[in-house]
Symmetry: C2
Amino acid sequence: MESTRPDPPTLQTVAAAAGVSRSTASRAINGEPRVSPETVEAVQRAVRELGYSPNPAARTLVTRRTGSVALVVPETGDVLFSDPYFATVLSGITAGLAPSGNQLILLIGQHPGDGNQMISYLRGGHVDGAMIISHHRADLDADALGKIPVPVVLGGRPVGATLPGMPYVDADNAGGGRLAAHHLAGTGRTRLGTITGPLDMPAGIDRLDGWRAGMREHNLADDATAGGDFTAASGATAMARLLDEHPDLQGVFVASDLMATGALQELSGRGIRVPDDIAVVGFDDLMFASTATPPLTTIRQPTREAGRLIAETLLAMLDGRTPEPAQILPTELVRRASA
Amino acid sequence: MESTRPDPPTLQTVAAAAGVSRSTASRAINGEPRVSPETVEAVQRAVRELGYSPNPAARTLVTRRTGSVALVVPETGDVLFSDPYFATVLSGITAGLAPSGNQLILLIGQHPGDGNQMISYLRGGHVDGAMIISHHRADLDADALGKIPVPVVLGGRPVGATLPGMPYVDADNAGGGRLAAHHLAGTGRTRLGTITGPLDMPAGIDRLDGWRAGMREHNLADDATAGGDFTAASGATAMARLLDEHPDLQGVFVASDLMATGALQELSGRGIRVPDDIAVVGFDDLMFASTATPPLTTIRQPTREAGRLIAETLLAMLDGRTPEPAQILPTELVRRASA
DNA sequence: GGCGGGTGCGGGAGCGCTCCCGCAACGATG
DNA sequence: CATCGTTGCGGGAGCGCTCCCGCACCCGCC
């Protein structure tokens, strides 16, 4: 009769096989102190022989811990996955999470407006905590975020007011913009411009702010700017506009490597030599920066480290510790051939 | 006293608020047939007012359904994330999963040998099913795989024998290799070579097999080959070797776009013009194929569709349906400037 | 008018686990 | 020798849910 499906062993079964009670078996399995070594041994053998594995649902029901955390990306999948930034930060997150044994649940928006549905998931007790990375605009409203009953860590500075008790991890975007300005100005070039990211995103805003501050420090004009949206195509378009409006341009800071590849294409299409005629500095230092032609001088942000830090910050909160409200990672200049 | 944490409402609370019993409330919430419309309305209002959300652990405990599936990647994170293939297939998987409401749990190997640990996770009742994508070699042993008690779908043809009851989804790699051969031969070039992927992987093997078949059909020699490992650097190295050994080369099929970018760099470094001196055909049609210099002629494989199909196949199995043991997606030639 | 079948609902049991409490045995302490 | 704390263990309760069973009621039938 019951030969069809050999029901998976339960704690009861294990306890019986080891000749102890449920409670004792539970204690032995969870490594609690008040158990004799012989008993532990007997229980472990029973576990092994029966191939026992605790039922996670039952355990969660009583402990109120799920052993998993969510990574929320309120961006539609298509946009997201074309951006190498995401893969890199995800890599850091999985690495940071690994030692804790927590599992990662991926919550990715399919349609704009899925945000609130995701939040209701977070409120449903499925996860112990959440990380929200909104590399692109943060389109979750603050009220809804405030209702999440579990710890939340943000990847990237939130756009509006800081959410109370919701720490974030970000790169020093402004500092990076300044580094780019210093480097270009340091080569003796004086007519400099920038291609910005979207100005409704912190990464776009802050890099521009940093750039402008740098220009001012060198007493250079900061009027040559063109806006892009972090895609390669927009980089090419912006480069074209910049060249048309400022024919005397000597150097350009492009707020992302992806846009920089577009800019390089536009420049090479016009027969403009890099860096001889115009120097180019990118931002990110993603994999393909070094394989561009010419290899891209860029501002490196530690994307993978940011991911790891996001995960570790969440783990700290799960442990009841109170993390820094903001953790800003340093950026650095990586000097290659383009500037 | 209990003002500190307003315990989340339970089904019992909702039932009381609606003036019905637990059972009836449960039926109303789950949309079961034998409930009067007025009762349904009353329960729904209570749910709304109390902000009730069913405890997933309790539900799972009795239904034995978790509502989540795992994506297993027995590759260390570092290797994986540098490969745009993964992001694309992941995008397809999330899209395919979305309509079902199942959540995605990401299981990513941190160290070589984590495979069996992952399998024990799959055996532990955490998920209803699993997808294993081993874009790189399948290093999970068949015995262990066979013990997974939930439906499993494989992304990519398994290396050894087919696992019984474990369907897979793959691109027509051999067909793609043949397409490349036909295209290059069709341009009148006769001295052709290939840069292969790793030959311990189906994607590497099958593309080479297809290429060779195509060469034979055109009565051309298929002896000019060099091996790579799907990275850009290995593409450059292999290209160099191929040029040294076969100075008369007129065209080359590179088994991945990433390797092709490396090959293009090597060619441009030697002052060899593409496609005038040597024509180049890639494989994948990833985003950057169109922005390479020159834009890459390549074999497109529907990576995102593969992801979606993997997810849908798993969902079908969860529904009790028996899927095709193998689903092979077509590849096609995308003609750009490099060949 | 008695009777069968369908409709709407309530109560109990139980999923597998952890945690609290209580109890026996033992060594140490006065 | 009586007392007390400590160690190791067992049993019961309960986490929040679904599902089975049974009960009351109403409709339509012979």
